[in-house]
């Protein structure tokens, strides 16, 4: 599958898809999307990358082992729920802050952090499965 044509195009497709996945993640609170779909798109992106260029580049691209990414995502997800402990409100209460960067107000919130956790879990898990199956084949 690592034809010239595919190999040349795939990296750009991948980065475009990753970009799109983050877009879907970030605006999921207001329009269709969210961490799960975003994560799936990102994982699909890496799957295409892997089919075109092989597994090792994908592993290097991800830096960490995909399951570690998933573990971190789960950790972030759980942490986003506990932050409310320090505000004296029940578990998983949405907390919002509006910091201003370059004069533009950003809406940061624990639901967003949580959705990022979801994204990482899905990305890490699907990537791990795909890579695991892919590598297994060569053995």
């Amino acid at each position: 599958m690592r034809t010239v044509i595919f190999r040349t195009t795939a990296p750009y497709l991948t980065s475009l898809m990753v970009l799109f996945s983050i877009f879907v993640l970030l605006r999921g609170h207001n329009e269709p999307g969210g961490g799960f779909i975003g994560g799936l798109i990102a994982a699909s992106a890496f799957a295409i990358y892997g089919v075109a260029c092989g597994v090792p580049p994908v592993r290097r691209a991800l830096v960490f082992h995909p399951m570690s990414i998933a573990g971190t995502g789960l950790f972030i997800g759980a942490i986003s729920g506990i932050i409310s402990l320090f505000e004296g409100v029940p578990f998983f209460t949405g907390l919002w802050v509006y910091p201003s960067i370059f004069g533009v107000e950003l809406a940061l919130s624990t639901p967003l952090v949580f959705d990022i956790g979801v994204y990482l879990v899905v990305l890490g898990t699907i990537a791990s499965i795909a890579l695991g199956l892919e590598e297994r084949e060569k053995i």
Binding site: S68, G71, L74, I82, P90, F91, F92, A107
Partner: protein
């Protein structure tokens, strides 16, 4: 992204305004601890050296939080926290009564001892492929299932524990494991899917997912609403999860295949979650439908008890014997649940607690036996009495406890169940309970006589023992690591036998919590009427239900959700 709200919003109609007491966080602490711990172990998967003791530490923390929760519940009655601060029934409530607290506690203790056992029993490769994350996340599922007050959330926790159990089950990839896992996985998938289907219908009928809200709405359903059918579906789903007759197939097909400590965890936790869900859903939420089904359930219970123990008698593999004993015990719990009287529920709950401890310990003991004799086959086992008399004693205690003989933990639930069935005039049920105990005695007595007393494999001449030099060596340090958790659990088995009073009291409190629905619904939703429905009769009499079999301190105050002391 939505901008900063420009005008302040009045949240009183949507959110709980009082801050929860710090102690109320204990309600979610078990789940949080397990999720964070599991996530940490997952991220540190390749660091196999730290995995074991980190998991033990996490589970110790879990035990501590469950103890705290248990004490908190005993002192303050049902504790509720609704996630996200939303008013129940709109957010997901965790609602913990005595039943939830005690099962969560025992589950945590069992898992804790299993983790200690696993530190010795589980090797590097198993660690690398996630034994400890699986175990800890399994406990997230188990704790979540015990603590949540939301039916769909219960389904989610069921799935968490199920997928974690898949992971534990296949760890090793041996042929029998994969074979067993195929059956386990598909059949359990059917069971949880049935649970989800039933929940979908229930949602379609009552439009809500909060258990307390469900209870109130089910009580005022119009005629013709198919609540009994939905209840039957729940019954089937939980019977399958609990491995009741005639849908127990998955358990004997798989429980003997994984690493022994995994079997121990499963025996202690999985089926009991099914029983818990049954009690919570059918007994608490839809008592009338449950009463409709009770005759059927009694026969299911009888068949489960008898078929289970017959299965135990029919095996050569001691691990499979234990698996069938788990099933037989499920029958006993179902018997109590079917009666749904104070005594019956007490018996079921006590039996659940007892079975969690004793079956886990029995599997652990089997693990030691297998290490000592190098086989799990009843025909080849033998001569362990001489090599490890301490193990012999422990196994015997556990075996007799499993058979319901005094003075061990199995006696009190069995006694209570016999009392309950005879009090209801269910002679056949009492008979079946006693007969299953009798047959269990035979089954475990045979195992003990053959594996411990007999001088060696089947056919060893009288008076001779196998040459000990040809038997596998158990490293003394390994043995110590395996015996300590076993002793811990055996100690509990003995303690529950000798000190039954708290056991009985807690079971009474738990049973009361199931029978006195208003206590639960009022604690979660406050004493007001369900939206759009007639007010429940008991709205005014919050503190009046102490005549139930409740222990001091467990009579719950009507507690508006999220309100602190």
């Amino acid at each position: 992204m939505a901008g900063k709200p420009t005008t302040p919003v009045d949240i009183t109609g949507a959110m709980v305004t009082e801050a929860p007491a710090l102690a109320d966080w204990l309600v979610v602490a078990p789940v949080i601890i397990c999720l964070l711990g599991g996530a940490f172990l997952l991220a540190q998967r390749k660091n196999t050296k730290i995995q074991g003791w980190t998991a033990v530490a996490i589970l110790a923390l879990l035990v501590a939080s469950c103890v705290g929760l248990f004490v908190h519940v005993l002192n303050n009655g049902t504790i509720v926290m609704t996630m996200g601060r939303w008013l129940p029934p709109f957010g997901i409530s965790f609602a913990v009564d005595v039943l939830s607290a005690v099962l969560a506690l025992i589950g945590a203790v069992v898992a804790f001892f299993c983790a200690i056992y696993a530190v010795t029993d589980i090797e590097t490769q198993e660690r690398r492929y996630g034994f400890f994350p699986f175990l800890v996340l399994l406990m997230a599922g188990v704790s979540g299932a015990f603590l949540t007050g939301d039916i769909f959330n219960l389904y989610v926790w069921f799935e968490v524990l199920l997928i974690a159990s898949f992971g534990l089950l296949i760890l090793g990839n041996d042929k029998p494991q994969l074979d067993g896992a195929v059956k386990y996985a598909f059949l359990n998938l059917v069971a949880t899917t049935l649970f989800l289907i039933a929940t979908a219908y229930l949602y379609g009928l009552v439009g809500t997912l909060n258990m307390a809200d469900i209870a109130r709405r089910v009580a005022v359903l119009p005629d013709g609403a198919p609540i009994n059918t939905i209840a039957a579906l729940y019954l089937l789903a939980f019977a399958m999860k609990a491995a009741a007759f005639p849908v127990f197939f998955w358990l004997p097909a798989s429980y003997h295949t994984p690493r022994i400590v995994v079997s121990a965890v499963f025996a202690g936790l999985l089926t009991k979650v099914g029983i818990y869900a049954f009690l919570r859903t059918l007994v608490l939420l839809m008592p009338e439908a449950n009463a409709m089904l009770s005759d059927t359930l009694i026969w299911v219970a009888i068949a489960t008890m008898i078929v289970g123990v017959l299965g135990a008698l029919a095996q050569n593999d001691i691990r499979r014997i234990m698996g069938y004993l788990v099933i037989s015990g499920i029958g006993a719990m179902l018997a109590g649940a079917a009666l749904s009287t104070d005594l019956g529920l007490m018996g079921a709950i006590m039996y659940a607690v007892h079975s969690m401890i004793v079956m886990t310990a029995l599997y652990m003991a089997c693990g030691l036996m297998i290490r000592t004799a190098g086989t799990h086959d009843l025909r080849k086992l033998g001569a362990i009495y001489g090599r490890d008399p301490f193990l012999a004693a422990v196994f015997l205690i556990l075996a007799f406890a499993a058979a319901g003989l005094p003075p061990f933990s199995g006696f009190w639930p069995k006694l209570t169940l016999v009392q309950a069935s005879l009090a209801e005039g269910q002679g056949w049920l009492a008979f079946a309970i006693l007969i299953s105990g009798f047959l269990t005695t035979i089954a475990v007595g045979r195992v003990w006589a053959m594996s411990f007393w007999r001088g060696g494999p089947l056919g060893t001449p009288d008076g001779e023992t196998v040459d000990e030099k040809t038997q596998p060596m158990v490293d003394p340090w390994d043995r110590r690591g395996l015996v300590i958790p076993l002793v811990g659990l055996t100690f509990m088995v003995i303690a529950l036998g000798f000190l039954p009073q708290p056991f009985l009291n807690v079971a009474a409190g738990s049973a009361g919590g199931l029978l006195y629905q208003e206590t639960y619904t009022d604690a979660v939703l406050g004493a007001q009427a369900a939206p759009g429905e007639v007010a429940p009769e008991s709205a005014a009499s919050d503190n009046s239900n102490t005549e139930g079999p409740m222990i001091d301190g467990t009579d719950t105050k009507a507690q508006p959700s999220g309100e602190s002391e």
